[in-house]
Subunit: 157 residues, 2 copies
DNA sequence: GCTTATATCGTAAGGATTACTAATTATTCT
DNA sequence: AGAATAATTAGTAATCCTTACGATATAAGC
């Protein structure tokens, strides 16, 4: 099924309407799935096709998408919230690799934590509904370029 | 060795001085290790013993501690940065359990990710220097109290 | 078609963090 | 010890991101 149609149905299921503004925002997110866009970036991109759209609408729509578990609001330490499309099952977030040198943010779609979640349930009496796993480090290909220094810790990870 | 002494040496090693203000802040962090304090909370606590301390000094000191890898700045979604003491080796962060019902934040000190880090290195050519692993879910003991709803997704996780 | 609810727009208000200047404290050199 | 230099702090102003608000516009129900 078309992803926009799918999302439209999820809106309807919760008595929300997929207005033209909301649809434009959703399309921007789908078209830039790899990019972990910030509110401002979404705003800029969607304004090309929809010049009259207001910034507050972007904030509200992203909050709505978050509530519907279509996206996940995240903070990678650059001072702005970023939004990441969830997997189709809307269950778990994928993992991230964040390079200290080049700054690249790569996604790992596999879920590597099923075993650990079972362990958490067993040992801590805690049933996991979601997780977040980020790795910081350096790509081997970036290693030779040297490290920019140890300032990355200042970021809110 | 005394932890304050140890930290003092780390300051000296980087040509920073452990001033009375900085030491007071460090002591507050050590005394409230489990609590993931925010800047404002540190400020309030340290002012009891050190009424003339300024808020900006708290911000600067925590940034400094972050640079020295003594603490880790984190964002758990409540709009403020929180600071978490690193393990003694200053290498890796511990993991967190965050309950959707009671809001409790528990730490898991074991490092469960060594194998996954090896896998990342092998499959992605990425050598991990640090990680972040948070589990969201509910304690079995909280389950019977019911869930507050699905608004937790609005938080920046 | 009129009424009611929902969504948008633009901007004002809020809150957390950073930037900045003057004052204070420590260090170095003679 | 005393002057000069450097490091640190205090207090507040400025900045930036986000939320709140009132008015307008759009859609839904009868």
């Amino acid at each position: 099924m078309n992803r926009v149609t799918n999302i439209s149905q999820q809106f309807a299921a919760h008595n929300y309407k997929l207005t033209p503004q909301r649809e434009a925002i959703v399309r921007i997110l789908l078209d830039n799935e790899k990019d972990h866009l910030s509110v401002e970036e979404v705003y800029m991109l969607v304004k090309r096709k929809f010049p009259h759209l207001g910034l507050a609408t972007v904030y509200r729509t992203l909050e709505l998408l978050c509530e519907l578990h279509i996206v996940q609001k995240m903070n990678f330490g650059d001072g702005v919230a970023r939004y990441d499309l969830r997997d189709d099952d809307h269950m778990h977030m994928h993992h991230h690799l964040i390079c200290n040198v080049c700054g690249k943010l790569e996604e790992i779609k596999d879920d590597w934590l099923l075993e650990l979640e079972a362990r958490v349930a067993r040992e801590y009496g805690f049933s996991v509904t979601d997780h977040r796993l980020d790795f910081k480090g350096t790509y081997n290909s970036c290693q030779k370029n040297g490290c920019k220094g140890d300032k990355e810790c200042r970021a809110v990870s």
